[in-house]
């Protein structure tokens, strides 16, 4: 991806006082900062904690990281909105659960971990997949059910996976991914490679019994698993206070420590995930509650406005939007100009459009793929075509 020419950090420091002089700046092609000099930024709100010592509010970051946050989140935002239009154009069928508004969780988490750590989440997984290194082409192709998709078109919106990057999906049944995540952590503990698992679930899934079973076992056996509740306050159409006796999900672990994080602040998420990773490697599981929000409804068939007011949605968008927050931080610290950020967004738009065009070219899976990957060695069951005599297949 070609970007504008960068220059070293020292030059950007030199140019700071000259920045307001527009023409001069333009001729000098004021560089976008790629410095890795540390920058300390405070999180929006302090962490709320249960049974543990909270991490500090001051997050160490650097300009390069902040710019990458911006790019990452803007790409995710653009991708989800494009998926919305594709769904309405009936190119994506079935179910489509969009993540816009919650991007900070995906991006902040990635910044704190490596690709050897595992992430497992529920069905709202497009952006998490992208964060794990998935490409836009793989996303759109999978959404449209094409061969170029990450699951070869057989999974669809809810089943994105990326083995090389430790992304274990992509699960349709609510809550079922949490015991699985604890199992992943169990294996990681055996392998002794200092890796951890992040098992994400929502506020609706927080009331599933299997979660507490998994939590108990993880705490008993000191598994390096971090349970992350992405609390967007609505389980489909049900507000959290109507589903949970105690909506303080970070406290529901009881004997397991918990931390409540502002999920719209990518830096806070990064800090919390870093802290959590260090914690679980020594002391067993921890629960992170990400206080976040989704702008779209539960899925594309949900307008999202029958159980919450439009004022609430636009209020959150104005006050707490994760992309805007990072944009403000970048501008406040003079790491890039408004125009450059807008250029990024334009570029991202083009990338997304290109990926969609490419994905549309990709063919649907071959019919015989219906039978592949059911078992490793075949079932040997017969299946008939419309004409019983001529078409007779044995399932591979």
């Amino acid at each position: 991806m070609a970007l504008a020419n960068f220059s070293s950090s020292s030059r950007s420091n030199l140019l700071k006082p000259l920045a307001p002089v527009l023409s001069f700046a333009e001729t000098l092609r004021r560089p976008i900062s790629t410095s890795t000099d540390p920058l300390i930024i405070e999180t929006s709100v302090p962490f709320t904690f249960h049974n543990c010592e909270p991490p500090s509010r001051s997050v160490e970051t650097n300009p390069q990281e902040l710019i990458s946050f911006f790019r990452g989140m803007a790409t995710m935002r653009r991708m989800e909105i494009a998926a919305d239009s594709l769904y309405k154009a009936k190119l994506i069928r079935g179910f489509c659960h969009l993540y816009d508004g919650q991007e900070a969780v995906a991006v902040g988490m990635e910044a704190a971990i490596t690709k050897k750590d595992c992430i497992i989440t529920a069905y709202r997984d497009h952006c998490t997949f992208l964060g794990r290194g998935g490409t836009l082409l793989e996303v759109f192709a999978e959404l449209m059910g094409r061969q170029a998709g990450c699951s070869r078109g057989k999974g669809g919106s809810m089943h994105f996976y990326k083995k090389e990057a430790g992304f274990y999906g992509g699960h349709g049944i609510v809550g079922a991914q949490v015991p699985l995540g604890c199992g992943l952590a169990f294996a990681q503990k055996y392998s002794k490679d200092e890796t951890v698992t992040f098992a994400l679930y929502g506020d609706g899934a927080a009331n599933q019994g299997q979660l507490f079973e998994a939590l108990n076992i993880s705490a008993l056996w000191d598994l390096p698993v971090i349970l992350v509740c992405e609390n967007n306050h609505y389980g489909m159409g049900t507000a959290e206070w109507r589903a949970a006796k105690n909506p303080a999900y970070y406290k529901r672990g009881d004997y397991v420590p918990g931390l409540k994080v502002d999920g719209m602040d990518a830096l806070a998420v990064k800090q919390a995930c870093k802290f959590a990773k260090e914690h679980v490697l020594r002391k067993g599981p921890i629960i992170l509650e990400m206080d976040t929000y989704r702008y779209h409804g539960h899925s594309m068939s949900d307008p999202g406005s029958t159980y919450r007011t439009r004022d609430e949605i636009s209020g959150v968008r104005q006050e707490r939007d994760p992309v805007e927050r990072i944009r403000k931080v970048i501008l406040a610290h003079d790491l890039a100009t408004e125009k450059e950020l807008k250029d990024f967004e334009k570029e991202i738009r083009k990338e997304v459009d290109q990926a969609i065009a490419q994905a549309k070219e990709s063919p649907m899976p071959e019919p015989y793929e219906l039978f592949t990957n059911v078992h490793v060695k075949g079932l040997g069951t017969e299946a008939f075509g419309a004409d019983r005599k001529e078409v007779r297949a044995v399932l591979p």
């Binding site: 078109g153 669809g156 809810m158 049944i173 609510v174 899934a205 649907m364 019919p367 008939f384």
Partner: protein, 366 residues
């Protein structure tokens, strides 16, 4: 008279079957109502979800100790089958539960054990598996293991099942076979709005726990004249919905409409098909199917669930046991393939009209 009703089931059935045990709570009321309404039996064109809605309204009206609960039922449910119930009967009788199927069913069993009618909704049949343990180990065996001291007969679990065109892996499954393997519960599947209303009321008032699967594909698509009064249709009685002499077809739920199309097409080729709606899967009406197979000598079963271990296998085995010498051809099963319910491949997976037609022809020409 009962067999007469079976054959002409489409006409308004107003009888109270002497065989069927009605629970005492509303027997008197039903008789009264039906006597009152003998003269005026109005019917309206309704779709499946409205018919079920009406049935629920009637159930809650006639028994003050009945409750409807599940995920999102309060505002009407994701398929609008429970609209108007909270407004009419209040939040204490129609209420939402958190997202926990195991909890919903377990809770329902407890309610029913105290003599109430618990009508639990599982949002999609694909999500019924967390509750599987409760249904199989608790609900089905409660009466048996307590020597009839306790029972959860008042429990009815409703779940939308079946393919819908774009449901994918987890919004299209047909899990009826798993439950048919459990003695102690009943499994009922209606084929149309008029049937659904009567069957659901029977299920709710039946003194056994019942799992009621509703074909979600037909929720809006199927429209029929549904009588407005309170009526019940007998359980464990199959219905011959189309008479024929060459081959017997057995099915249930949404699949019947596909089978009917295949029958009409086969008719053009001179094959006369007899179509039976099983209605209740367990305990199923072996006599009706046997009588029909003795007449035609051939049997074809069709269902959406995968063929291996599907309920068609049970029907096939039982009929072969009973009618072996009469059978002219092997029993054919046209069912879903043995794969997880696919995403883009749904049209290949489904037992379509052509597959059924082809099987009819090869069975008849065996």
């Amino acid at each position: 008279m009962a067999s007469c009703l079976r054959r002409y089931g489409r006409r308004l059935s107003v009888s109270i079957c002497e065989k069927r045990e009605l629970s005492t709570a509303c027997e008197g009321k039903v008789i009264q109502q039906q006597q009152q309404q003998q003269q005026q039996q109005t019917a309206k064109l309704l779709n499946l979800c409205s018919a079920i809605n009406q049935a629920l309204h009637l159930a809650l009206e006639t028994d003050p100790r009945s409750y409807v609960f599940g995920e999102d039922v309060s505002f009407g449910g994701v398929f609008r089958c429970t609209t108007g119930l909270t407004e009419r009967f209040g939040k204490n009788r129609v209420f939402n539960t958190p997202l926990c199927e195991q909890g919903i069913v377990g809770f329902g069993i407890g309610l029913a054990a105290m003599g109430n009618r618990a009508i639990a909704e599982i949002q999609f049949a694909d999500y019924i598996y967390p509750a599987f343990d409760q249904i199989v180990n608790e609900a089905a065996k409660f009466r048996y293991r307590s020597g009839n001291q306790y029972d959860c007969g008042g429990l009815t679990i409703r779940a939308p099942y079946g393919a819908v065109g774009h449901g994918g892996h987890y919004h299209s499954q047909s899990p009826e076979a798993f439950f048919c393997h459990v003695p102690g519960i009943k499994v009922v599947i209606p084929r149309s709005p008029q049937q659904a209303k009567g069957l659901l009321l029977s299920c709710i008032r039946d003194p056994n726990p019942v799992v009621f699967f509703e074909p979600k594909w037909l929720y809006r698509l199927a429209v029929e004249e549904v009588p407005e009064h309170d009526y019940m249709l007998p359980l464990s009685e199959a219905e011959v919905i189309r008479e024929g002499s060459d081959i017997t077809l057995v099915g249930w739920g949404a699949q019947l409409s596909i089978m009917e199309q295949a029958c009409t097409d086969a008719e053009k080729d001179g094959i006369s098909c007899e179509l039976i709606d099983l209605k209740t899967l367990i305990p199923w009406d072996k006599e009706t199917v046997e009588t029909s197979v003795r007449k035609t000598g051939r049997l074809l079963i069709s269902h959406e669930a995968p063929v291996t271990g599907g309920f068609g296998a049970e029907i096939s085995a039982s009929i072969v046991e009973r009618c072996f010498l009469r059978l002219e051809a092997p029993v054919a099963r046209v069912c879903g393939l043995d794969t997880p319910f696919p995403l883009v491949f749904e049209p290949f997976y489904m037992p379509t009209k052509n597959k059924i037609l082809d099987a009819i022809k090869s069975t008849v020409n065996y």
